[in-house]
Assembly symmetry: C2
Homo-oligomer: 145 residues x 2
DNA sequence: TTACGTGCAAAACGTTTGCAAGAGT
DNA sequence: ACTCTTGCAAACGTTTTGCACGTAA
């Protein structure tokens, strides 16, 4: 149990295979398939460490629960599906011009910026058949499995 | 109806005079100056109603506490000061072109988008003298008002 | 009287932390 | 031995809710 970050790589693999910026609960549930004894606290602690070292980024969107994803490059633009609640990285290059114009217009010192697009993702649009809704609706907390 | 939203207008006035998207605690503290008996639950309930009717918008940034502001026009771009934690509306017109290009590149149906710029606001930059830090640092909860 | 906003307290929810235990060195 | 992660449960901060009250119709 007390190996230096027993679940670290498993969590990273999960996030790599599921680039949807899952919730902690989702990660915990998936992790328990292979490690039935892993506790939620450990998942939180591991995630916090990974964020601190820069491997992961935490997204404050979605209001209630934190969402985590790999810090791939500088992709700070996201698409958030309002139906299945997945969060995708967007392959759009940062518009640094915007930072300059905001700074010029407001006098605020801009250090970085983020961007979120909301809508319905392709999976959800193309039909309920292909939907692998990995996230239960916000109302009911599904802890099963 | 008994007291049709006794505090509704006071809250809206507060938000209009302080376009910094305050926390619920800040709103509650300010409101108690004129209405010493108002409860936090009422503030939450009123804010929820105002958000539901579209008068206010809730910002999920800042991680821990929800922030609220008036739904002025379609200004969905914000500047977030990492020092005093104020959130300013940005007078930048929406870049609708971005929505179209994201939709074209990803196949996701884009309905809207938001944008956040992070840095240090002009007030904080121009010197600590002019800083009216309306928000205590996240560590200590200052209820003394 | 009825309806419903309100205050209060408790509950609910996500997240963090204290502590003892166990694996690795 | 010593270190450090882990599981468990309790604590924590934010938000919601149950319930009785009281005010406006």
């Amino acid at each position: 149990m007390p190996r230096p970050f027993q679940y670290r790589d498993s969590i990273l693999a999960l996030l790599k295979d599921n680039p949807i910026h899952p919730t902690v609960d989702w990660i915990h549930a998936q992790l328990r398939r292979g490690h039935p004894r892993v506790s939620l606290a450990t998942v939180y602690r591991t995630l916090r460490t990974l964020v601190a070292e820069g491997t992961l980024c935490e997204l404050p969107f979605g209001t209630s629960e934190s969402r985590f994803g790999l810090t791939l490059e500088q992709k700070h633009y996201h698409f958030i599906c309002e139906q299945c609640h997945k969060i995708y990285d967007l392959p759009i290059r940062p518009r640094m011009t915007l930072e300059r114009s905001v700074q010029a217009e407001t006098g605020h010192q801009v250090r970085r910026h983020t961007m979120e697009f909301y809508g319905v993702c392709r999976e959800c649009t193309e039909g309920p058949a292909s939907v692998t809704s990995l996230r239960p609706p916000r109302e009911q907390k599904e802890k099963t499995e």
